[in-house]
Every structure is written in C-alpha cells, then in structure tokens.
C-alpha cells in the first residue's frame, strides 16, 4: 500500500473519531508530535512535584501535610502513566528523561516560579491545576488512544487537586489579616503565569493547524484560556479576593470576560530558561537522577544475579 493510501486510512480514522493505537500505521510527524507533547506533559508532572514539594516539610497542620504529600505523590503517578504512554510511541523512559536533562525537551513554564508562602500551595491547586484540567479534559478526547486513556485517569485526580487548592485559599480568606494578605498576594503572583500556561495566541502557535487536523488538540489555546478566565473570575468572588487585572470585565454581549494582554516578553523569557527557578528545577531533577544512578545499577545487577541463580537451580 502506498504512503498516500496509508495516510488516507489514517486521516479517515481520525475523522471518524476512531482512536489511533500504538501498532497502527501513523505519519512520522504525528508520532514525533505526540512524543514531544506527551513527554513534555510527563516532565511537567515530575518537575511540578518540586515547587509543591518545597512545602511538604513546612505544611501548617498534619492534615494539610498528609493531603499535600498525597497530592504530590499523585503527580509522580501521572508522570508514570505518561512516560508509559510515551514508551508506546517507541522511545524509552531513559531517553525521554535524558532529553529533559539536556534541555532538549521542555516542561510547563509555570513550574519555574517559586512557592514563597503556604498560600502558593493553594494558588497552585486552584489556578495551575485548574488551568491544567481544562487542557486535560480536552485531551481525554485526543486521537492517540494511550494518551487519551491516561488523561481519563489523571483528570479524576486533578479535580480533587483543584478542590484542595481552593479550599486552602478559602480557609485563608476567612482567617487573620496576615492570612488574607498571604492569599491575595499568592493570587496576584500566580494569575498571569497561569494564563500563560495555555501557550501563545493561536496566530503565533507553530503546531496549531496540524494538531487540530490530527485531533491531537481539540480546542485552541485562546479558546481554553477564555474558558479558564470565565471560570476563575467567578470563583474568585467566593474567596472575596481580586484578580490582578484592571481590564477584567464581564461582557454581556459575548457572554465572556474580557481580560488584559499577557506580558509575552516574560512568557518567552521563562520558556527560554530565564524564569526565576529554571536552573534550580532542572538541577534538582539532574541531581536526583545522578544520585540515583548507583541505586538503579544495583537493582539491575541484583535482578541479573537472581536470574542466573534461578536458571542454575
């Protein structure tokens, strides 16, 4: 069968909403595009453990400590599913991780911002996980089967994460003067970076048209960002806090909130490695991997010995 015919069958499946599975024929660019996106997603889960992990030993109550620990552990689990999904596309976990450590692969820029106060843990849950969920709910319908299925599992846990984040802020918002200030300050710092999570404007997005045609993405960056603003602008009222955007305004005519322009210079700077914590995050991941080298070697050597022994027996 010619490549043209294979491509036609492939696009036919996509158009008919039939999932593409690992053993199916797929265009090389589709495979590469997915490897890039799924591995980036996996790395985001793993690097994302660091800013929240920063508060595990300092959580203000035993209950909060346990919830936070469980939450960060969930992120590790998400990383695992996603590395497995990447493996179905023919790259090993080790290769994928090496690409992160060399700087070749990216992860979500949001995790290059520091968690300075306890309220940041609430803001991450509410805003960052909130933004991630919108993207991930869309991805439960993505065309590649293993990725879509991983997303179904992940979405269930993420909605719990968002609720716990909101609940942290809700308690702060009804607390002492310092707690209220802490709450507002965290919202102020995390709001714009959260909007940046949806990526550049559709007009600037390099992979946009192809991703939509292949149904890897099902909604555009700007569409998702608008959904997010509409959702958060309402929820923030419950907290009796404000979003740091003087242009934020409900528009009856469109049925959406208008909002100000993102600082794209900051966005590209952080993407290029100049965010407040880019170096530290990557360094922490590299260090964990390097320090673990002898452990992985020992585990490998031991399982090899066992195999030999059981064959000899």
């Amino acid at each position: 069968m010619s490549v043209q015919d294979l491509e036609k069958i492939f696009q036919g499946k996509i158009d008919d909403e039939i999932k593409i599975e690992p053993k199916d024929w797929m265009p090389e660019k589709y495979r590469q595009s997915l490897i890039r996106q799924v591995s980036q997603h996996a790395h985001s889960e793993i690097v994302g453990m660091l800013p929240e992990g920063n508060w595990i030993t300092r959580a203000p109550s035993l209950k909060r400590k346990a919830i936070l620990l469980a939450k960060v552990q969930d992120e590790a689990g998400h990383g695992l599913y996603l590395y497995s999904a990447t493996e179905t596309l023919g790259v090993t976990r080790e290769q994928t991780i090496n690409d992160l450590h060399s700087g070749k692969a990216k992860y979500s820029s949001i995790f290059n911002y520091p968690t300075l106060t306890w309220a940041d843990i609430g803001a991450i849950g509410w805003l960052v996980d909130g933004a991630a969920i919108l993207n991930q709910v869309m991805l439960t319908r993505t065309s590649f089967g293993p990725y879509a299925r991983a997303m179904v599992r992940i979405c269930k846990e993420e909605s719990f994460h968002q609720r716990q984040g909101f609940e942290i802020l809700l308690v702060l918002s009804t607390g002492s003067k310092e707690q209220k200030e802490m709450c507002q300050d965290a919202i102020n710092r995390w709001w714009w970076p959260s909007l940046m999570m949806f990526g550049p404007h559709d007009s600037e997005s390099t992979h946009f048209d192809q991703s939509m045609k292949w149904k890897i993405k099902r909604k555009s960056n700007d569409e998702l960002r608008q959904n997010f603003v509409d959702m958060i602008a309402e929820q923030v009222k419950v907290l009796r806090m404000t979003l740091p955007d003087p242009e934020l305004k409900w528009k009856e005519k469109t049925g959406h909130y208008d909002f100000g322009e993102i600082n794209w210079e900051e966005f590209w700077n952080v993407v290029k490695g100049n965010g407040p914590c880019n170096r530290q995050r990557l360094e922490a991941r590299r260090k964990a991997w390097q320090d673990g080298q002898w452990v992985r070697e020992a585990a490998g050597a031991y399982s090899e010995k066992r195999k030999v022994r059981s064959q000899a027996a």
Partner: protein, 261 residues
C-alpha cells in the same frame, strides 16, 4: 490534677506518635527526589502511612490530655502536640531523626525501624487499652508492607554491586549505634508494660535480632554485633538534627500562632 498513671500513658502514646511523625517527616524529604519514579512513590507512601499513624496516636493523646486536665482555654489537638512542643518534649528515638543520607542509609533506617515497629504493633494489638490495640491492628497492615519493601531493598543493595554493598556497610556504620535504644525501655514504657497497656520490649528484642540477622545474611552483610550504643531520644535528649526538623515542621504554627489552616 492529672494522675501519674495517665501521665505515663500519655507519654507512652506521644513516644509512639513522635517516632512515626519524625520518620514520616524524614522520608517525605525524598518526595520528588527519589532515585527512580516508582521508588519515589513508594517512599512517599511509607511517609504517608507513618504520618497517618502519628496522627492517630496524637489524636488519642490529645483526647486523654483534655479529659485529664479540663482547661477550656487550651485544648490539646493533634496539631498542638506536633507543632507546639519543643525538642526536650519530643520522645522519638534517635534513629528516626537521623538524616536521610544516601538511599542506602534511608533504606537501612527504614528497615531497622520497620522490623522494630512490626513486632511492636504485633504485641500492641493485645494491649488492654482498646484504642491502642485498634491503632496497632490497623497500622500493622501498613508496617508489614514497609518491612517487606525495606527488606527487599536491603537485600538488593547488599547483594547488588560492590558500590551498593559498600554503601550499605557505611550505612550500618552510621546507624547501628542508634539501634540499641529501640529496645531499651524508657520509664513510661516500663509503666505501660506493667499495666498491660504497652509492650514488653524484652520480648521484642530476640525477634528483632533474628529478623535483622536473616535479612543481613541474605544481603551478604555482616552482623555488626555488640557495639557502643547512643541512647537518650526517648527521654528527650536528642541529636542536634531534631532541632532543625522541628524548625521546619513547626515554622508556620510558630510564625502565625493561633490560626486555622
């Protein structure tokens, strides 16, 4: 006025709670930094179990405290007990507050402690204090897994590569000195034993030694035998490490007193 025997029981429970919390805290420092993702998840799981056990014990200690000193201006809770006592009031053993070191040291610390906690909870299930017996029964399921997981890792590292073997030897050198304290009863443990609320540590000792010996043999690690032992943690005489653990653990409650979180 609180009776002497209630005081001893509360101290005994706080000792059990502090052991679990402090080791849970140490293990939680690994979260996000483990040598491989699956093990990052495993050590975090163990950390969560230990913090959960600590919470059960603290809640019970708080209840007994409030019943015996009905001071409405200050009610004890799991959080006041964990976050508002200072270093000299903490009753955890020295072993659990030791730094994580490398993976070998963390694994060995977990194994030595889980082997102790396994037999401890096994006995504590027979406590004539129903709450303690119930917590022990529930926790034993978790500790059974901790013991299996850490035993497997001791064997894997001991019998892995020459580097991992050497690192296990270093870990033994570092930690063995803190094992004796696990099985030497503090005053409140003796009292709890005499009232059959607590556990007789002399029964535990041979079981613990047998378990550790078996695993060391399989791991091709030498039995360290009699060595000088550091004690004091259970009586509030800690290593300098605990002060820094508490500085982190208690930071928020100390910086913003009297808040809800």
């Amino acid at each position: 006025m609180r009776s002497q025997s209630t005081n001893h029981l509360i101290n005994y429970i706080l000792h059990l709670a502090d052991d679990s919390l402090i080791l849970g805290h140490r293990n939680s420092e690994w979260c996000g930094h483990g040598p491989v993702l699956e093990q990052d998840i495993a050590i975090t799981n163990i950390s969560l179990d230990l913090i959960g056990q600590g919470r059960n014990f603290y809640q019970y200690a708080a209840k007994l405290t409030n019943e015996s000193t009905p001071d409405p201006s200050f009610a004890a809770t799991e959080d006041t007990l964990a976050y508002l006592r200072d270093i000299r009031q903490f009753k955890n053993c020295l072993l659990v507050e030791q730094p994580n070191g490398d993976w070998a040291q963390t694994i060995l610390r977990q194994f030595l402690f889980s082997a102790y906690q396994f037999y401890l909870y096994q006995q504590l299930q027979n406590s004539n204090d129903e709450t303690l017996a119930a917590i022990a029964e529930k926790s034993l399921k978790e500790v059974t897994y901790h013991l299996r997981w850490s035993s497997e890792w001791v064997i894997r590292l001991g019998d892995g590569t020459s580097e991992s073997h050497q690192r296990m030897l270093n870990a033994i050198d570092e930690l063995w000195v803190y094992t004796g304290e696990l099985l030497i009863a503090a005053s409140y443990e003796l009292r709890a034993m005499s009232t059959q609320q607590g556990v007789d540590l002399t029964i535990l000792k041979p079981k613990w030694e047998e378990k550790v010996k078996d695993i060391f043999v399989e791991a091709t690690l030498p039995w360290p035998g009699e060595r000088f032992q550091q004690i004091g943690g259970k009586e509030g005489k800690h290593s300098e490490h605990l002060g820094y653990i508490l500085a982190e653990l208690q930071y928020m409650q100390r910086a913003y007193p009297g808040c809800e979180w």
